[in-house]
Symmetry: C2
Subunit: 588 residues, 2 copies
């Protein structure tokens, strides 16, 4: 029992910090009223009239009549998607009022296993961001269809569930539940047998009996809602609706419209970002930006704040720790403007003032990274232009090919059959038809696999893009209109220990290095954002209409998003869960 | 993992039971829509369109267009107050749509310790009522001021917290928290260190710093709200407001008025009964009756249902188990009429149909009670008329006495100074002034204590009332206008192994026996109710205006309700937490 906290609450000892002269946005009672918050150490001691908590040495923050809200929580985010080392990431999101996140560090697990995740959790301890760890339920997603650095089994998951910050199991995949995947259900039982831990769902396009089975298995949240029906399918089944408003998927506006038009109870609805691109984080913000969008659609101010605080905490059973302004909760406090032109002015996280009217007051030095996070790009065989060629019968003149096309606004792939030339027994890409070569090169030094296929929707001409960020295995994904640039790109990506880059005419045209797991950089947000903007601009100049081409590219290898994917093992038919030949037929 | 449940949810196996053709009251989405519920064993497999779950052997219950709600939950009730053995109690509340309760069986603990509670939990297993056990935090309330049969210390509490159904710590008393009572705070730490368990508060008249300290210590519910301010004090601090609507305290109407007039968020509000008198349970009902009252005040139907289902479950972190209609939840289902003239028609508990359109379908045989629950009334010394006399100086003619008066609508006591005659050195009662003798006789065979004082507010003439139900020690409380009847009453109460009775002119005028712990009867509800009505009627005929005189009497010995109490150790000044002399001054 924290007796110092009791003393401050009782008025026997002054608070360390008092925020006063504000309007409390009370996420419990649904009210807004005048008051303040008193803090002891990292914990709230009193809310409302806290004048009795002020002593000689109490630090006072004057809210100047602005709103006082709980610090914001993102219930489903992969910090790795921001390409930032965790300390920089923490600094960036804290500056936008996010004081806690729920994350699985799945991508780090894919590259460096549980040791990698532990190392990053340790790095994060130096920051003021509260991290609740959700144990990844599958690393990698499809062990039969891809090669990863880290592998999770039920034993490793049990070990991870015992980590002090572990609050549940992450990304519990609908189709695996329906298949009654034995190891997954074993981990479900392990999680639920540990009091207070939850199963976090990944349940795209689950309806009726399918959804019923997932909920019956114990899943209580889902961030994969896309349409009106998805809203009902989740809420009516008692599943917390995590409306996603991130860089790779912006589902919130439509979902929120459904909620508001049908006057649905909002107490089980939160807002999450899932994946947040560096430039979006830099230029737009985090949950503060989602709130601006939500508020502009007419959502009630208190209800909106509940969606990024209390409702999120409840969806994990963490409402006694975070997500509200009440004694005993972590002292995560924002001072904000009102619904119109919403802005977070000042943030306090764990009792420490992070920003003062927009000015950043803290800085976290880069960590000395654990060796398991570094030097993670290893080729077993040399990569040359030949590595990417799809060979067919030398006599063939043309090939009918299954090209996968991405949608321009979300990296979902679908089938397009095309006819391509065959030259000397090698199937050729065709930029006129928007058909590029795409491949994934195993980079964990395990088997030297290269998977190959054809890609549409990116509209790239005159070069190659390569990236060591490729879900759910983080091998090197490479796409281009010529084999030579592709080879240069992959080799350069290996050389710099991972990153994202573009090669034109044999030369690097733009490059961002990710020395940490091949996923993340130690650069501060502004510099990293600048580099990534240059990278994007070069891609735009090569013809792509996609706003965040590298983030899209990184999802093309994800063997759980329909309809197709490319991994180091080959071209994947996601529905069938098998490797297929992209060449359908040869024409002589 | 329950694979049979998954099979039914997926549609691969027919449901055992389907309720169809109803209107689902969805406590998650806040909607009402047409649909049904499919059940596998004791668990819900599907909700909504469940036609796919119907097979040849599926039992069908036609809701005939009525409403389908989750089974009701009472988050704070002491079944012992109904005077019924737990199986009869279960049968009684199930017949009114209550499918789960959260209870501490505190009274049984006071008489027979943890062994007694375990024995009762075992008896309850034969019923369909789901019992969540909240471990009593203090048995008895005031060890220094009263003698009890059972005693809890932190070690016993730790043992109890490990029982399979244990969900938290009960009746965490505000003033003890403020005192930083060492053993209590140790038990707080024990409870909170076990994932998912909660601290259930008993925080009467706690405001500002006092309430802040209790909440900072981790308390998350409270059933002791009486006035408008209490509503705000709880909800604003993130404390679940349990609006009490029971036999000894009916706080709900006023609290609900505050909630509705201020348009407060209702998601943290539930309805509880705390203590429910046999006759009230028989003639009015349980939470169905509370709902009728709430609905008649204009509360929205879905919000009202949420208050006795989902909101209650949430207040214990049990929303993944009970409190809603969703796959994976216990199959606790009510079919009800609408808001007007609200009635529960049919109840299903744990998948078993309990009632059919008001007709009871189940009956639980009386248990063979464990020996620790029987023969619990033992006197150490004989009790005679002399036992109750308050002796003063023989020369005194009159005595100025502190008489405690109960309020007529709630058993709260306050001070009234009166002048009484002294005859042969014995202070006399005075029915003209409504001053009776009151005493408590130790009955656990420990020390033979008799505590004595003066009582007002009951307006009894011509006899004595005795009861082995007396919070928080369950010694024999006796009150009367003459010592002889009081002695007869106490001796008879011991003779029958405990109970409640009235003696007039040396003879028993009415009597109800409680052979189980001196607290409970094995009679069925109708017979017990009839006996208790007779008991009450005799008391009314003796002049009392109090509707439930014995329940009030049982609270006069509670050393935690201000301002005064009587225990076996003497007359208690509750605020000062000490034994005082009721005789203030002798007049010669």
């Amino acid at each position: 029992m924290n007796k110092e906290l009791l003393s401050v609450a009782k008025g026997n000892k002054p608070a360390d910090l008092v925020v006063n002269n504000g309007k409390i946005v009370n996420v419990y009672s649904g009210e807004i009223y005048e008051g303040g918050v008193a803090v002891c150490g990292d914990t709230i001691a009193a809310v409302g009239d806290v004048s009795y908590c002020i002593g000689e040495n109490t630090k006072i923050i004057d809210a100047q009549g602005n709103f006082i809200t709980p610090g914001f929580l993102d219930g489903h985010i992969h910090p790795e998607s921001s390409s930032m080392a965790v300390r920089n990431f923490a600094e960036a999101v804290l500056s936008h009022g996010t004081t806690g996140i729920m994350t699985d560090f799945h991508e780090i697990g894919v590259v460096s296993g549980l040791d990698g995740i532990k190392a990053v959790l340790k790095e994060a301890e130096a920051t003021d961001l509260k991290i609740f760890f959700i144990v990844p339920s599958h690393v990698p997603f499809a062990p039969n269809l891809e090669t990863s650095g880290g592998h999770f089994n039920p034993e490793i998951i049990r070990e991870a569930l015992k980590l002090p910050n572990a609050v549940g199991l992450s990304e519990c995949v609908g189709p695996y539940i329906l298949e009654e995947h034995e190891e997954l259900l074993e981990s479900f039982d392990d999680t639920l047998s540990m009091g207070g831990k939850t199963l976090q769902g990944h349940l795209p396009a689950m309806y009726g009996p399918d959804m019923n089975a997932c909920v019956a298995a114990g899943v209580t949240t889902c961030h994969e809602a896309f349409c009106e029906q998805d809203v009902f399918e989740r809420l009516r089944n008692g599943v917390y609706l995590q409306m996603r408003e991130g860089s790779s998927a912006s589902n919130m506006p439509l979902l929120l419209k459904t909620v508001m038009e049908n006057n649905l109870d909002t107490s089980m609805i939160s807002i999450v970002t899932d994946d947040l691109h560096t430039v979006d984080l830099y230029e737009r913000g985090h949950l503060d930006q989602s709130l601006r969008t939500a508020l502009s659609s007419g959502l009630d101010f208190v209800k909106a704040i509940q969606m990024v605080t209390f409702n999120c905490a409840k969806s994990f059973g963490l409402e006694r720790e975070v997500g509200g302004l009440a004694p005993g909760r972590r002292a995560d406090i924002n001072i904000t403007t009102g619904a119109e032109d919403f802005k977070v002015l000042t943030t306090i996280a764990g009792g420490r003032q992070i920003t003062d009217n927009g000015k950043m007051l803290v800085h976290y030095e880069a960590a000395q990274h654990d060796s398991c996070l570094l030097n993670t790009t290893h080729l077993l065989n040399p990569i040359t232009a030949d590595s990417f060629k799809i060979h067919v019968d030398k006599d063939a003149k043309k090939a009918k090919v299954l090209c996968m096309d991405t949608l321009p606004y979300i990296p979902f792939t679908h089938r397009r059959d095309v006819e391509l030339d065959v030259v000397d027994g090698v199937v050729q890409c065709d930029v006129e038809q928007d058909v590029l070569y795409i491949a994934q090169v195993e980079r964990h030094g395990i088997n030297g696999n290269v998977g190959k296929a054809f890609m549409g929707g990116f509209h790239i001409r005159g070069g190659a893009l390569a990236s060591s960020v490729g879900h759910d295995n983080h091998n090197i994904i490479v796409m281009g209109d010529n084999f030579e640039d592709m080879a240069v790109a992959v080799n350069r990506c290996i050389e710099i220990g991972g990153g994202q880059l573009i090669v034109k005419d044999g030369k690097v045209a733009a490059e961002v290095a990710y020395p940490i797991c091949g996923l993340m950089s130690d650069l501060p947000l502004d510099e990293l954002s600048e580099q990534k903007k240059v990278l994007n601009q070069v891609a735009y100049d090569m013809g792509t209409p996609i706003r965040i081409p590298f983030m899209f590219l990184g999802f093309i290898c994800l063997a759980c998003i329909e309809d197709y994917a490319i991994t180091d093992k080959g071209f994947i038919d996601v529905k069938k869960h098998e490797i297929i030949d992209p060449v359908l037929e040869l024409l002589k």
